[in-house]
């Protein structure tokens, strides 16, 4: 076992798959010689050369489009989009091509592209370096959407994504690259070194795409969340003393609905939480399904906790971010409502 932060875990996943399969390549902006603006590919070009760790022109649609073609020709491309906020110029290639290729050609052609991209706020990035557009991708048939909340899952899920013949959008919540974060910006930052999920096995292992994880067992309420908010939920649960069960969705599509509904049927109460804006967010899908599947077990409506429906403001990150305060208030409210 090694201690890794999420950046190291992500790098390790790429390193291991590249060592194992000469067809795995990485392409993106500043990811080669420089090693990426978040250092996720640091050292990979030294190790695998410029022909497999490729610095690309600043053209997200071109990178994704070219990667699709590479995938059709037998490579297994990992694309880095520097910020999730900059994935939109590649949106048509993702939605119309990457997602549809297998379907429209009945499996004759497909392209096993993995798109990695850092998302979320809390790093003073302003509205163009803080977005969480995951829900948009979950609505698109033909791609899978994943977001890990810790180094262990990051490595295991990324290896699964790279090895999968289906295209995967792999969101990396950048606020927790270096350590778990419970939503309180005034506390000294913690590192993954002291966190059990910072213990990452060396070598190859996978975390299956499509499986949620119960990260805290509880009987009174279920919080369904993913990414940075997993840590916020844990802190909030502890702060309230309510016996909360917390589920880290991890894989947004495919969704492990069974684990979630079993939990909610047990607890009878549910909060769905994410950092992305609320309206039309992924939480809507979760809440809509949970209320449908668990209706007769619910003691209170399924509640949603999310970023406000405005762009992420530079100055007011902590008023915007659905942090511990809001989560605590949300838990209390549900407990009262249901009482």
């Amino acid at each position: 076992m090694a201690q890794m932060n999420m950046i190291e875990a992500i790098r390790d996943a790429m390193d291991i798959t590249m060592a194992k399969d000469p067809n795995v390549i990485v392409i993106g902006e500043d990811i080669g010689y420089f090693g990426g603006v978040f250092r996720c590919t640091d050292g990979l070009q030294d190790k695998y050369g410029e022909h497999r760790v490729i610095d690309a022109p600043i053209a997200e649609g071109g990178i994704i489009g070219a990667a699709i073609g590479m995938g059709v020709n037998g490579l297994r491309p990992i694309v880095e989009i520097q910020f999730a906020d900059y994935i939109y110029p590649g949106f048509d290639q993702i939605v119309s091509e990457l997602a549809k290729l297998r379907y429209r050609s009945c499996g004759e052609f497909f392209s096993p592209v993995t798109i990695r991209t850092p998302c979320g706020g809390g790093i003073r990035g302003g509205q163009t370096h803080s977005q969480s557009p995951e829900s948009i991708f979950t609505h698109v048939s033909g791609i899978k959407t994943v977001m890990p909340s810790n180094p262990y899952d990051a490595k295991g899920l990324l290896i699964s994504a790279i090895e999968s013949d289906d295209p995967v959008i792999f969101f990396e919540p950048k606020r927790i690259y270096n350590g778990p974060f419970d939503g309180d910006p005034d506390k000294p930052s913690v590192s993954w070194a002291s966190h059990p999920k910072g213990e990452v096995p060396e070598g190859h292992y996978t975390v299956a795409i499509g499986e949620a994880e119960i990260v805290r067992e509880g009987s009174e309420m279920t919080i369904v969340t993913y990414g940075t908010l997993v840590h916020v939920a844990i802190a909030a649960a502890e702060a309230t003393g309510v016996d909360v069960e917390i589920i880290d969705v991890r894989s947004l599509s495919p969704l492990d609905i069974t684990t979630i509904t079993e939990s909610v049927k047990k607890t009878g109460r549910c909060i769905v939480a994410h950092e992305a804006t609320r309206f039309g967010g992924y939480g809507a899908e979760l809440a809509a399904t949970i209320q449908n599947d668990c209706f007769y077990h619910l003691e209170a409506p399924v509640s949603r906790l999310a970023g406000w429906d405005t762009p992420y403001p530079h100055a007011f990150e902590w008023q915007y971010f659905p942090g511990k305060k809001r989560m605590v208030a949300g838990i209390r409210k549900i407990m009262e409502a249901a009482a």
């Binding site: 390549i25 022909h51 649609g61 071109g62 489009g65 070219a66 119309s96 009945c106 052609f109 499509g210």
Partner: protein, 416 residues
């Protein structure tokens, strides 16, 4: 508005009711354009993007340095496939008009592009076609029956009923799946070619877009990546003068040729007579050799004319003179190759008529067979539950319930 607009609005030379006018087309005499070495520097061969590479002259002889000197057999082959393309399109058009398929797009007048290039490329080279490249699929071994079954969305449809007619694909023929979204195939071709280079293979890629589609982002992406990595790829722009109702000037063709689009990135452009099979063949061989020898991408503009409507949903009499095609100075590619064969003593009018009849019969036979696999109105039918297949390699759990529900409804349904 108080003041007069000063915006420049591009204008086609002729609209319905006007005399066709192709004086805007710069034409070079057949045989007049030099043929450089394949390792020529892009900047030394800019003339190729302005002049028009032509081999077939008005007197039906083949002229000049670009003459590929094809033997009679090759010429026959070329003529046969172009004719097949034409006859096939005509039949499918009729079939659509009879309401037996939902949609169709003919390549009428542009057949030389697909056939010449299919012949010039090697089988291991990968083609990323647009929807007017049916000739590529034909030449590369997709049977007429299979193509018709695709258009019928029937039980033998290679697309299992998922795609509009004409959206073929052929893994064994190395022809990529056609997309409805214009131009998206261009960066795929470049990426494919990059992968070929990375793997140290010498297969090249080729792709095709229309003049109108050059305005899309993917055109720029593809050119940029091809130039940066010197990808072994041939990027074709089929300038058939029209993009549905807008003429090529609306896509930026008023001032410079489409062949010139890559010059600013150092990609040489070749402007070729798109109705001259020999010229296209030769330019393609030249570009392929460049690519295979590490000299990078080439952009080929094929100057041709969209002889038919854009698709079965279109009515070109609304926006261009009815007789424009007749007046197109580069003629009809089939007629021109036919006359060349006759001129060379390889062919006769009688043989030509006989060949047409033969191909018509072949197409008709294919149509008869295709219908056995189902039509829009008669079975056998595909299993509708197949719509849940191939969305993913590993189907999503939620598809099970949806598939079940769909089949239930198919069987019992509501009561209406």
């Amino acid at each position: 508005m108080t003041r007069e607009s000063r915006l420049h609005i591009p204008q086609p030379a002729a609209r319905p009711g006007d005399e066709p006018d192709f004086s805007y087309l710069h034409l070079s005499p057949a045989g007049s354009v030099d043929k450089p070495a394949v390792d020529a520097r892009a900047r030394d061969i800019e003339y190729l993007s302005h002049d028009l590479v032509r081999v077939l002259d008005d007197d039906h002889s083949a002229k000049g340095p670009w003459d590929p000197k094809l033997d009679a057999e090759k010429l026959h082959t070329a003529l046969r496939w172009m004719l097949l393309n034409r006859v096939f399109d005509e039949r499918m058009w009729q079939i659509q008009r009879q309401g037996r398929i939902s949609f169709y797009m003919p390549a009428t007048g542009e057949e030389a592009v697909s056939i010449a290039q299919a012949m010039a490329l090697r089988h291991g080279d990968m083609c990323f076609p647009s929807y007017r490249n049916q000739g590529l699929f034909m030449y590369r071994g997709v049977s007429l029956v299979d193509m018709m079954c695709q258009c019928l969305s029937n039980t033998r449809d290679m697309c299992k009923g998922r795609q509009l007619p004409i959206m073929y694909h052929s893994k064994s023929g190395n022809v990529f799946s056609i997309s409805g979204n214009l131009g998206t195939q261009y960066p795929h071709a470049v990426g494919w070619a990059m992968a070929s280079a990375i793997k140290g293979e010498d297969h090249i890629a080729a792709s095709w877009v229309g003049d109108g589609s050059t305005a899309e982002a993917d055109f720029h992406y593809a050119l940029t990546f091809a130039a940066v990595y010197q990808a072994p790829v041939i990027l074709n722009v089929v300038n058939n003068q029209w993009a549905i109702s807008t003429f090529q000037g609306t896509a930026g063709g008023e001032r410079r040729s489409f062949a010139a689009r890559g010059l600013g990135l150092g990609i040489p452009g070749v402007r070729v007579d798109g109705n001259d099979l020999l010229a296209i063949y030769s330019a393609t061989i030249w570009a392929a050799e460049r690519a295979r020898n590490g000299h990078g991408p080439t952009l080929i503009e094929h100057v041709t004319y969209r002889g038919g409507p854009h698709s079965t949903s279109d009515d070109p009499s609304k926006y261009r003179p009815k007789n424009e095609w007749e007046k197109f100075p580069l003629g009809d590619p089939i007629e021109r190759l036919k006359q060349h064969l006759i001129h060379e003593g390889y062919w006769s009018e009688e043989q030509h008529e006989a060949l047409i009849e033969e191909l018509k019969a072949e197409v008709l036979a294919a149509w008869k067979e295709a219908q056995k696999y189902g039509t829009m109105t008669e079975g056998p039918w595909l299993d509708p539950a197949s719509m849940f297949d191939d969305v993913y390699e590993d189907p999503m759990g939620r598809f099970d319930g949806q598939r079940r529900r769909m089949l239930e409804l198919e069987e019992n349904g509501g009561d209406t």
